[in-house]
C-alpha cells in the first residue's frame, strides 16, 4: 500500500502515521505576532474560512489557520466564524515560512 502524503497546506502535514492510522494530531503552531491584523468577521466571510483564506492567501485549503491562530475564539473552524467575531489574521509571510 502506498504511503499517504499530506500536502504542506494541510493541517495534517506534520502528523505522523502509526501503521495504517494517523498518529496523534500535530498541528502547526502558528506564531502570534504583535502586528497580526485584527479582523471583525463580516457577513461575506461568515462561516466561510475557505473564502477568507482564498482571498487573503490565494489558497482555500488554508481554511484551518484561523482556528489555530485564534484557539480561544474559534473552537469550531467553520461555525464559530460568525459575523461580528474579532479574530487575528496570520500574515501570508508567516504562513510561507511556517509551512515551507
Amino acid at each position: 500500500m502506498a504511503e499517504v502524503t499530506y500536502a504542506r497546506n494541510s493541517p495534517y502535514a506534520r502528523t505522523k502515521f502509526y501503521g495504517n492510522f494517523l498518529d496523534v494530531a500535530q498541528f502547526p503552531n502558528i506564531p502570534k505576532n504583535a502586528d497580526d491584523v485584527v479582523f471583525e468577521i463580516n457577513r461575506t466571510y461568515q462561516y466561510r474560512p475557505d473564502l477568507l483564506a482564498f482571498d487573503l492567501y490565494g489558497d482555500a485549503n488554508l481554511w484551518w489557520v484561523f482556528a489555530l491562530r485564534n484557539p480561544n475564539t474559534i473552537k469550531d473552524s467553520i461555525f464559530d466564524m460568525r459575523a461580528g467575531t474579532k479574530i487575528y489574521l496570520p500574515k501570508k509571510s508567516t504562513l510561507d515560512s511556517l509551512l515551507g
Binding site: 499517504v4 502524503t5 500536502a7 504542506r8 494541510s10 491584523v37 479582523f39 461575506t44 490565494g58 501570508k92
Partner: protein, 305 residues
Amino acid sequence: MTGLENDFESGGVSRNILSSSGTSALANSLSPGNSSGARLAQAGLMAGATGLLKDIAGSVFNINFQNSDGSVIAPENDWRVRVSMSSQIANLFYDNPANTLMRPLNSQTGTSGVVFPYTPTVTLSHTARYGTQALTHSNYNSYFYEGSEIGAIQINGEFTVQNVREGQYLMAAIQFFRICTKMFFGRDEYAGSPPPLVFLDGYGDAYLPHIPCVVTQFSHTMQSEVDYVQIPIGVDIGSSGELPVGPPSPNDSYGGIVRLPTSSTITINLQPVYSRKNISENFTLENYARGLTIQGGNSTRGGFI
C-alpha cells in the same frame, strides 16, 4: 486508498499558491476586476493579511518627507520646492492655531508652507537689458547697458487628492496662494499693508536660496475629465488618516465639505524682490559669484539669485 491519496494530494498540487510572491498576490487581489479584491476591499483588508486598508490611508504621498530610517526631515532641510512665509506673517495664517483650514501647512505639525508634492516645472529667467543706438553711417549698432533683472519665476505643479489628508493639503495650498494675492484691508490689524511676502526654497540653498518673492499670479486648473472627491475641510483626521475625528471648535476657522479634483494643477508666478537695503549692503558681484550671497537662506544677505 488510492482515491483517498488523490484527495489529499489534490489539495497541495492543484493550488501551489504559497510560493507565489506577495507582491503579485497583492496586486492581483486589488485589481478592480478581481472578486477576491472586491471582497477584501469591502472588508477593509489587504491580500496576505499585511494590514488594513485604513493603515495606508494618508500615506500615498510623503508630505512629511522621511529619511530612510523613518525620521522626518525638518522642513529647512527638505530639498523639495517650498513656498513659505516669514514666521511673523505665518503666525497670522498657517501657524495660527485657530486656522484649521491651513493646518496642513503648519510649521510644527505640517510642512511649513506649501510643498509641491510632485516635482514641479520651474522656469527662472535672468535678463540683462541693453539699449541700442543706431549710429549714422555705421554698419553696427551700439549697445548701452541699462540694467539687469530677474524675471518672474513660474512654477507649475501637480496635486493629487487620493485621501482626506491630501485633499486638506490641496485646499490649504489653494488658500495660501489666495492669501498671497490679497492685501490687508478693512478691519485688519495691518490694514493697508500689501500682500504678504513669500520665500521660495528648493533643491538646496545654491539653487533656490530662500528667495524673497511676491506672488503676482496664481491659478488652479481643475480639469473636467478627472474624478472629484468629497473632502471634509477644517476638521482633524485620525492618525491613520482615514476618517474625520471631530468637527472644528466654534472658535476655529471654516469647517465643511468640498469636492476636489483627484488631479489638478497649480500655477504660480513669483517675482523675486530684494530690498534696497539688502542690495546695497550685501550684494557685490564677486561675492555673488562666490556664492556668499546665498549662504544661509534665512540670513539678511541671502536670497540673491
